[in-house]
């Protein structure tokens, strides 16, 4: 079989030898750039598909009456946020950065080159991931408009500025964390922890759902409406993560093999770690917890996927699974209502993953100097994103746009914010007057008639 393949390749190799040297080099470079670009775009598309995973996971973990609201937030934060990232965020994050703090050009990509476009597309998907983490944590009691305003600021300002410190710049100068040697390959801290600290700020600003905690502070379980959606969302996120980490090489080369393998192993170990921890704590093996365990594993390997061996990736994921469970319990004991567990999964596992990238660095295991840099990076992410996001959500709340009313919580945000129901066959609610006639629902018309009387 291999002999046949070589026989077919031989004429092509001979033809290549016959062409002049410089032309061959140019063609090879062009081919490499083309292949790299195709891989990066493909990876970007995979990362975009993660939005579907987030939407399914978060809506499945919410009650049926809030499904449309969660879906709408996931669908539209990408849209508004992408515009903000294109206009401002990309320049702040990757523009020329001589000071090491913030990018100063490439806003609206006015001076773009061919390679920039693919990179901007790929990085926009990363920014969208950071923003969408917030929606799940704040689900079921946050107003749609308030959330969208928040996500625009996260994608346009909070995420890019920290990104400039750790990843900037692509053109001139380096971020101060990057200069120190901070390792965060695909964004355990830059993307996931920043998103999670924004989520934590939002959750604190908006407060817990009605009745989430009893008067003596005991948490009450509020199950989501669809575990199949949760599981499917988990699978899609896992699938998309191969692009998230694999695409972060920004070129199509052999290193992708290790990265993708590490990614997969960490996710699998995350489930095992969560399961062991639940068994140790004598808790049932809840599907939501195991799915979160896999995502925790994925988040944790994101920082060191390219720089640690597969066995350490396994260990990183295993510990991340335990972190998801323990951090979830910690938040509940503090009366923090995070609907999907975004803060334990993306925040705490992001921190662990970034530290693990320093601990298990190939060739420099347990290097204290590197660990110090990693700790500084993790701390800087929190100190920048949490207070800024809290200020942002506090301001939105003060303007009356963050927390929905208790009546909206009773009716569900689908009806009160969007006038649409996710499952109209099973949810009988009056609809918006503008569409009730089209729907022709008798109960709705009766209610309207009674109200008019």
């Amino acid at each position: 079989m291999y002999a046949d393949r070589y026989r077919l390749l031989l004429p092509a190799v001979l033809a290549a030898l016959l062409v002049p040297g410089p032309a061959l080099a140019t063609d090879t470079d062009s081919l490499r750039i083309a292949v790299d670009t195709v891989w990066m775009i493909t990876a970007g598309i995979l990362v975009f598909f993660m939005q579907a995973g987030f939407a399914l996971l978060e809506s499945g973990m919410a009650r049926a009456k809030n499904t449309v609201n969660v879906l709408m937030k996931n669908y539209t934060d990408v849209c508004f946020g992408s515009i903000a990232f294109f206009a401002v965020g990309y320049g702040l994050m990757f523009g020329s950065n001589p000071s090491g703090w913030v990018g100063e050009d490439h806003f609206l990509l006015l001076r773009g080159e061919q390679l920039d476009y693919g990179l901007l597309f790929f990085q926009t998907m990363f920014a969208a991931t950071a923003a969408t983490i917030v929606s799940g944590a704040m689900a079921e009691r946050t107003r749609y408009r308030g959330y969208i305003i928040g996500s625009v600021f996260i994608m346009g300002l909070i995420y890019p500025i920290f990104g400039a410190w750790a990843w900037g710049s692509l053109y001139d100068g380096n971020g101060w964390l990057k200069r120190m040697g901070f390792i965060d390959f695909a964004g355990s801290t830059v993307v996931h922890s920043v998103g999670a600290w924004c989520a934590l700020a939002g959750v604190l600003a908006v407060g817990p759902r009605l009745g989430r905690f009893s008067s003596d502070s005991r948490p009450r379980h509020i199950p989501g409406h669809s575990l199949p959606l949760v599981a499917l969302g988990g699978f899609i996120l896992w699938f998309g993560w191969f692009g998230f980490n694999g695409g972060s090489v920004a070129k199509a080369d052999a290193s992708i093999g290790l990265i993708v393998l590490n990614t997969h192993l960490a996710a699998a170990a995350g489930v095992a770690g969560a399961a062991f921890t639940l068994l140790l704590l004598r808790r049932p093996l809840l599907a939501t917890m195991l799915v979160n365990g896999s995502i925790g594993g994925l988040v944790s390997i994101t920082a060191g996927a390219a720089s640690m061996s597969p066995s350490f990736a396994l260990l990183t994921g295993l510990i991340a699974g335990a972190v998801v469970i323990v951090a979830g319990e910690l938040l509940l004991s503090l009366r923090i209502d995070d609907v999907v567990g975004a803060v334990p999964v993306h925040g705490f596992c992001g921190v662990w993953g970034t530290l693990a990238a320093g601990l298990f660095l190939d060739g420099r295991l347990f290097d204290p100097q590197q660990m110090l840099v990693q700790i500084i990076g993790v701390g800087a992410a929190f100190l920048w994103s949490f207070p800024t996001a809290y200020l942002l959500f506090w301001a939105i709340a003060k303007l009356g746009g963050l927390r929905c009313t208790t009546h909206q919580e009773q009716r569900g945000l689908d009806y009160t914010e969007h006038y649409e129901l996710a499952y109209p066959e099973f949810q009988r609610q009056p609809l918006h007057p503008a569409i009730e006639d089209a729907v022709g629902d008798r109960a709705t018309q009766e209610v309207r008639r009674a109200e008019r009387v």
Binding site: H221, Q410, A450
Partner: protein
């Protein structure tokens, strides 16, 4: 032989008022109870009996004891689920049995919600009291509504507009969320809706209007 209501009033008189004035209060009660149609509210009854006994300062305590006994007897006589908050027999309800046989749909909804929330009958009245406290600032009106919703006598239904009914249902939901959690509150609300929709009157009064 004393009926349930008589027994409660007699016991309250004996507990609250001094022995020397109990006869006067009971005589006033006998006068009151001749005409069931003109029977006053529990609050008013307390005032009148204490005034007749010459101890107006005890009216509040009398009312509190009367209410406690009233609800305690209700719980004692109640069977689980819906029975827990069915109206106890009284002279008035006996007199207007036909009207009471079909309590207003809104009261059915409230009672069904509470019965689902507290199947053992306990704490249902606390939830209702908490909800009304949220929805209705005026204390007297609140107590009148509370009594009406618990006893459910259609004849004395207080005027209660749609907005106020909505506020009461919402207050009940919020109180239920705090008392037993949002999952149980959602289930109870869905159950109450189903029960009311099964009533033929729901065609004219869709229960969704109270949400």
């Amino acid at each position: 032989m004393l009926n349930g209501y008589d027994a409660i009033v007699h016991a309250t008189v004996r507990e609250v008022l001094p022995p020397s004035s109990q006869t006067l209060a009971l005589a006033a009660w006998e006068d009151q109870s001749i005409d069931p149609a003109r029977q006053p509210s529990l609050r008013e009854l307390s005032r009148q009996l204490c005034a007749a006994a010459g101890h107006t300062e005890l009216a509040d305590r009398f009312y509190a004891v009367l209410l406690r006994r009233f609800f305690a007897q209700q719980r004692a006589h109640a069977s689980p689920a819906v029975e827990a908050i069915k109206p106890m027999p009284s002279r008035q309800t006996e007199a207007s049995a036909d009207a009471a046989a079909q309590p207003p749909l809104f009261a059915v909804m409230v009672r069904s919600f509470l019965a689902q929330l507290h199947p053992d009958g306990r704490n249902g009245n606390d939830t209702l009291a908490g909800a009304l406290a949220r929805a209705i600032p005026d204390r007297d009106r609140r107590l009148t509504l509370e009594r009406w919703l618990v006893r459910g006598d259609a004849a004395n239904a207080p005027v209660c507009g749609l907005e106020q009914q909505r506020a009461i249902m919402h207050g009940l939901y919020v109180q239920a969320c705090e008392d037993v959690g949002p999952v149980a509150a959602d289930n109870a609300l869905a159950h109450a809706l189903r029960q009311v929709r099964a009533d033929p009157r729901a065609a004219r009064e869709p229960p969704e209007r109270w949400l």
